[in-house]
Amino acid sequence: MTLTSTQATPLDHDEVEAIRADFPILHRTVGDGAQLVYLDSGATSQRPRQVLQAEYDFATTSYSAVHRGAHTLASEATDAFEAARETVARFVGVPTDGVVWTRNATEGLNVLAAALTDPEAGQYTLKPGDEVLVTEMEHHANLVPWQRAAARSGATLRWIPLTDAGRLDLATVDGLINERTKVVAFAHASNVLGTINPVAELVAKAKAVGALTILDACQSVPHLPVDLGALGVDAAVFSGHKMLGPTGIGVLAARPGLLDALPPVLTGGSMVERVTMETATFREAPQRFEAGPPPVAQAVALRAAVDYLDRVGMDRIAAREHQLAQLLLDGVDSVAGVRVIGPNDAENRTATVAFEVEGVHPHDVGQVLDAAGVAVRVGHHCAQPVHRRFGVNASSRASAYLYTTDADVERFVQALGSVRGFFGRS
């Protein structure tokens, strides 16, 4: 997915304002009455009225347990729930039965890592001598489960290092992807650096050695048009709460053939065929991976979120975010004593910009910005290794979305300009 400003017409000022009108929370003030500037969508996005309404309507008209009833509510709820699966599958270009509902993207990655260390995964089971490859920019969710999978299976965890510019060091890849490589798991876009990784290139190299490719699409699916089928990955994860949907739902999207070959990880109701006191047999995928009641209301809401994104147009959102990335980079660059952590140019980059303010701890940066109404994230953003790589423990991070205005960026940059002075740095 190469992202350049020429792909589609960015959302214009009026369109962004119209979108903002759908998000009640963006109109609140914080602290001493400052209008909220929400630049923390990389952590979680806000929900528009349409999504909240869909959830409310469902709860007040058709809610019921799904799949298990002969009554009217049960079939209406099942229809709504399965329609959500269809919508989400189409949105990311996988077959409907390639969509497994999880509780978040983290769970999806854990399920894959656990299934691949289970002897019942057959040809896919990781063995001593095998290698799992990740990158140095991974979120803990796409790192710690692989550390444990490696420890349990005797496989070796390796990683693609980063350049000082905050890109994957592609020169190292040919050595790292080799005949021992069984899994290549990597972020489509980094939640710290904003870097968009070259998926096609990595997938081609992985396929050449027969390795599975697993894409952490948490920071791409909400922001870019993503066609997982076209990208050719074996599996991908993303989560509802970062794409205008609710908390409590994530997606594990995979080749149905892969899912069918993997054993279940969580067991219980809805995923079994026959159960005796002694033993149980399991249903086909995706049901095999959905133990217990699924996030029914959340799926219905996520469908409304996808419909919303579709209506606006992912290509136009991506084009707008490309503008925002440039605005954020220029803005941060204009403030003395502030260093961007990640690529300095907006090409192949999302509108997520992490930075360090010289002599001021990120917590203090965040506090001063908050007093000005500007919400940014501070800390290690669940990615300690990438911070260590760039010589810091923590950073501040501004991340934009379709509802971010140019004025938001200006307010942020202005507040950022006051930080060092406030703490007496010059």
Partner: protein, 161 residues
């Protein structure tokens, strides 16, 4: 006609009691895999199950026998299937199944062809009840699967050439 009566048409209520073609299939092996096969289908959601055994005579469906446990829709559907396909050329039986499937998936919108479907048009009302479609198709799926097994066992034209 209430929605209940349009689901449970008299044909269905009758067949669910009469169960044409129902037989004790025993446990034994199928005698000639080139002409006879059996398929067991199970719906894990409700526990319904059906086993259908068919014997082909040349390219015709010679016999259909079945056993199973399930709701009146699944029992009646298999009974009606028995009457419809016994003695038919395999291709025609497949054609009926295709039409039947289309009808069941129509969500009440289709115009089923009684010429083709015969008594099976009685299941048109099931298409309005998404959660019962599986019941109405279970026996037919077993038939289709048994057919595939026979075909898989038979040497194909290609294999022979």
């Amino acid at each position: 006609m209430s929605s209940l009566e349009s689901l449970y048409q008299q044909v269905i209520l009758d067949h669910s009691k009469e169960k044409h073609g129902r037989a004790d299939l025993g446990e034994g092996d199928v005698l000639d895999p080139l002409s006879t096969a059996r398929s067991h289908q199970y719906n894990p959601l409700c526990g319904d199950e059906v086993t259908v055994q068919i014997t082909l005579g040349g390219t015709d469906v010679e016999t259909v026998a079945w056993t199973g446990d399930g709701c009146s829709i699944s029992q009646a559907a298999t009974s009606v299937m028995h009457d419809l396909i016994v003695g038919r050329p395999v291709d025609e039986a497949r054609g009926i199944l295709a039409d039947y499937r289309t009808m069941l998936r129509s969500r009440g919108e289709g115009e089923p062809d009684e010429e083709v479907l015969g008594d099976a048009v009685a299941f048109a009302g099931v298409s309005r009840h998404a959660n019962r479609v599986k019941c109405a198709i279970l026996g037919w799926t077993a038939f289709e699967d048994a057919l595939l097994r026979i075909e898989a066992a038979r040497p194909t034209a290609k294999d022979e050439s």
